[in-house]
Symmetry: D2
Amino acid sequence: MPKIEISTEFCLRVRYAETDQMGFVYYGRFAEYFEVGRVEWIRALGLTYHELETKHRIWMPVMSMQVRYLRPARYDQELRIRTSLRALPHQDISFYSEIFNEKNELLCAATIKLCFLDSLTGKRVPCPGFLQERISHAIETAHIQ
Amino acid sequence: MPKIEISTEFCLRVRYAETDQMGFVYYGRFAEYFEVGRVEWIRALGLTYHELETKHRIWMPVMSMQVRYLRPARYDQELRIRTSLRALPHQDISFYSEIFNEKNELLCAATIKLCFLDSLTGKRVPCPGFLQERISHAIETAHIQ
Amino acid sequence: MPKIEISTEFCLRVRYAETDQMGFVYYGRFAEYFEVGRVEWIRALGLTYHELETKHRIWMPVMSMQVRYLRPARYDQELRIRTSLRALPHQDISFYSEIFNEKNELLCAATIKLCFLDSLTGKRVPCPGFLQERISHAIETAHIQ
Amino acid sequence: MPKIEISTEFCLRVRYAETDQMGFVYYGRFAEYFEVGRVEWIRALGLTYHELETKHRIWMPVMSMQVRYLRPARYDQELRIRTSLRALPHQDISFYSEIFNEKNELLCAATIKLCFLDSLTGKRVPCPGFLQERISHAIETAHIQ
């Protein structure tokens, strides 16, 4: 089976609000950074998560998260979030997220699994067809490169 | 015109997440403390803000906030939030919030004005009658004491 | 080898600020709930995390976190956080955290590993002796019961 | 006395974490947006707030904040934060912040006053000379334009 990897990168700067009294970014705040990374990954497909919610009535709550914190992130650093998909989504979708500082050091790495809910019924649904198609298309066009 | 003041107090402990790298509670986090104070004020009337939203379809977004920060709040302190109503609500409702530390020093004081929205239409509505009645009742029963 | 489990429980109420537009508690906010649970677990030993930082110059940053989200937490629910230690700490310390709603349904479960830093040097140190002693004492006195 | 106004603009996109169950950005989260605006305003002077803290040992805690919320901010909107100084700082410094949505509608406006602390002693100090000079220089060079 061929390995796939569709990755995008997004940079953001650490806000003062995100630090704690150790002088590090609070460990729970990384969840927001991972979220921003996923949202920009979806935007790179030509969709928006906002559309998924408002037009397609899909919610994507998080089912599980594993995070390893390797080095602290600090105030005013410009962080680079690398978000990757390594398997085609079916019943759920898993993203692999890595956050790097300006010296290109890996600060933390996470695997986050989300499911798909019909927002009207609250019931689980499989990955919508149009999302699978966009992902397949992204893989194919990357092959051409 | 008689002066009214209906006050409640609620205590909470500062979380690590709420500190910043100065070692103080981040200035934006106090908005959450004020919110907790207001919610407990409403609960003391025998209502819940949750019911207002789910049963009465009322949303109460904040229209304005004035805060004076006098002393820093610090990690693990048990803070006391005093929430007061000083005028009967009509088109909007204003709360006066004060936060004290364990030595009874005033850390910050705020005035927060909220309006009432019909959550189905998103239109402004006046203060619901049942809320005015609860407030009037609270004033009267306090007179008896 | 004998199994140990030292557990404490702590309740908190979901704040409006903690919800997102799905109407659920945002997945990253649970990190704060786990933190509150750990802090109260330490307090139950007769110590405070605040003292660890200010008196003993120990910081305890999070090294890894695994969370499974089973059911959403919602606004104004009173959540019960159960925090357990299942192995004696040496180079690091791992807590197992579970969050339950008012119906006693498990909402999420997490394993969180923290290390010990000397806050003056920023270097890793093993679990301080006085903390190990408190834990051993807690296990012994629980045996007596 | 001549009127001054030194303004900068910075854009950011609303994160899912920043919404609440009304579907609006939580009112307390705007404090983070104002902070980002101030930090970028200082960067536009050729300084960084990070340097002020680490090199010059200056902390700038918030003394007061007045916010008017005119329209809700919503998920995934790209907001424009306009941050202005309208008076030279002496004992304290006041910023005027406005946040606009993509249709150029004003969502909220705030006045935020900060003071200067010597971070080693925790005592108040006046605005550092080098900061006043940078501001004066910014005003003069703007005159030339």
